[in-house]
């Protein structure tokens, strides 16, 4: 049966430890100065009224991926599970997909000279029923991952309970990554 993956990022639980980023680099041998995932931090307000926001920046695995429709060689493609991958053999590195991505999730791997991005660790982990590296390492369970078709899965149950924010939802890309927005501290 086809999967309906979802990755949840709970901004309330994130402590900005960057373990996800390190795990990703180790798992996928990401070259220096390139990032498949980043967590950025923003502190707002004046002491003692402070707020701290975290933002995860990575591929959001669109249901309607603009990077796939613009790719001239089908190197950027969507699997039957709806995940967006890159066929490195057919990638001519024209960088059209990098420009088409509203999330800036793609970059040119300077070593292999092909376009690269987050894959949800599909090859090495998810296809073997393991969680993506960033999810498995997260010490506060700010990240959770699973198949939405399984109603008893943690992600499915948490998605039911929480208010979800889909990044740049107005673009109708239908991301598979959802954020649970920060409720704590100053907002602006």
């Amino acid at each position: 049966m086809e999967k309906q993956y979802r990755l949840l990022y709970d901004e309330n639980l994130c402590i900005g430890c960057q373990a996800c980023s390190v795990a990703c680099r180790v798992e996928n041998s990401v070259p220096d100065d390139c990032y498949r995932v980043q967590v950025h931090m923003q502190t707002i307000g004046i002491f003692p009224h402070l707020g701290m926001n975290y933002e995860r920046l990575s591929c959001v695995m669109c249901e309607n991926p603009p990077c796939v429709s613009v790719c001239p060689t089908h190197a950027s493609f969507q699997s039957k599970d709806g995940l967006v991958h890159i066929d490195e053999r057919a990638c001519i590195t024209c960088k059209y997909c990098i420009l088409a991505c509203p999330y800036h999730a793609r970059f040119v791997n300077p070593i292999k000279n092909v376009v690269e991005k987050c894959t949800f660790c599909y090859e090495t982990r998810v296809s073997k029923e393991l969680n993506p590296a960033c999810v498995s390492i997260c010490p506060t369970e700010a990240l959770s991952f699973g198949d939405m078709h399984q109603s008893n899965a943690f992600v499915a149950q948490k998605s039911q309970k929480e208010v979800l924010l889909f990044p740049k939802a107005h673009l109708r890309t239908k991301p598979k990554v959802a954020f649970i927005p920060n409720r704590k501290g100053m907002k602006s």
Partner: protein, 322 residues
């Protein structure tokens, strides 16, 4: 947003640089020059001298294949993996404008090459090295009864080449300055403008013996009309962005007011590319003279302006995201 660890360089990188800007320019120049050559052939083709080909047609037939070849070379060089370009030829994606562009180019490029061979048939026959091409020329000439249909087909293909470069950019909704339905028509009009300029320039420099002053006048009038169309199009382009939602109005504001590229737009694209040629026309009209020197300089100014428009759109689009 301050990265605790990481870098925002990835989010602000210029992925398409001068090679693409020049390619867009060359593709426009090529299609523009062949369109102009065909227009002259259909409207202003009087046999006032020994050659059956007007200098404008000769110029177009040389510029079109040369420009498109140089452009394609730049396009391949710009790929991260130039030697893998053959994937573009064996796999097609109908939703990708780049793929459609490859199809158009595969049709367009051979036709403009054959067109050049036909125009320079006599020169080709002179060289023994080019002898094998003679049979090709004869083969093509055997279809002479379909000449008009082939010319119309070439005209339509050239329109596709001139506008697809605009669609290539306008298909990307991640980039506000590119995601405009006016971009293809804007690129097409400026292509036509550069086509007029380059044909006059090359015609005056290399094919002076077959120059027909009537066709030059016809083209200068045409160019004035094209420029007078391009100016309001540019206006509409930005007005449309200011009325759009999301980040688009901010991107438009920055692109018109901030930094080096705003300067290129106002001084280069508007001032040099459109303003100066209009000024020349006004002065020439007042004094009723068209001096060759003016025409040559005017043509170079127009071409420079068109090139700067491509540079501006490519760079400002990637820099000012709103």
């Amino acid at each position: 947003m301050s990265p605790m660890w990481g870098s925002v360089a990835q989010y602000t990188a210029i992925h398409w640089s001068w090679t693409i800007a020049i390619y867009l320019f060359l593709a426009g120049l090529s299609s523009g020059s062949i369109i102009v050559a065909l227009l002259v052939k259909w409207n202003r083709h009087e046999r006032s001298n020994s050659s059956i080909w007007d200098a404008m047609i000769k110029a177009g037939s040389v510029v079109a294949p040369t420009a498109i070849f140089l452009g394609l070379l730049l396009l391949v060089i710009d790929l991260g993996r130039p030697l893998s370009f053959y994937w573009l030829l064996i796999r097609y994606n109908v939703t990708s404008v780049m793929s459609l562009g490859v199809l158009f180019l595969l049709i367009y490029t051979p036709i403009v090459m054959v067109f050049m061979l036909l125009v320079f048939e006599r020169s080709v026959i002179k060289y023994p090295l080019l002898a094998p091409l003679e049979s090709l020329i004869n083969l093509v000439k055997s279809f002479h009864s379909y000449a008009k249909i082939i010319e119309y087909f070439l005209f339509v293909t050239a329109l596709c080449i001139g506008s697809y470069t605009g669609f290539l950019l306008s298909a990307l909704y991640a980039i506000p300055l590119w995601n405009s339905p006016l971009l293809p028509i804007l690129f097409l009009t400026s292509s036509l403008s550069s086509g007029v300029a380059v044909n006059i320039l090359i015609g005056l420099l290399f094919f002076k013996s077959t120059i027909n002053t009537e066709s030059i006048k016809y083209l200068l009038v045409l160019d004035t009309r094209v420029i007078l169309t391009e100016l309001p199009l540019l206006g509409l382009f930005f007005i449309g962005m200011f009325y759009a939602g999301g980040d688009t109005p901010y991107a438009a504001k920055m692109a018109l007011t901030e930094g080096f590229w705003a300067g290129i737009f106002w001084l280069g694209v508007i001032g040099v590319g459109l303003g100066l040629p209009l000024l020349t026309v006004i002065i020439a009209m007042r004094s009723h003279i068209y001096r060759v020197g003016y025409i040559v300089i005017n043509s170079m100014v127009v071409i420079l302006g068109v090139l700067m428009l491509r540079y501006y759109i490519i760079y400002a689009g990637q820099i000012y995201l709103g």
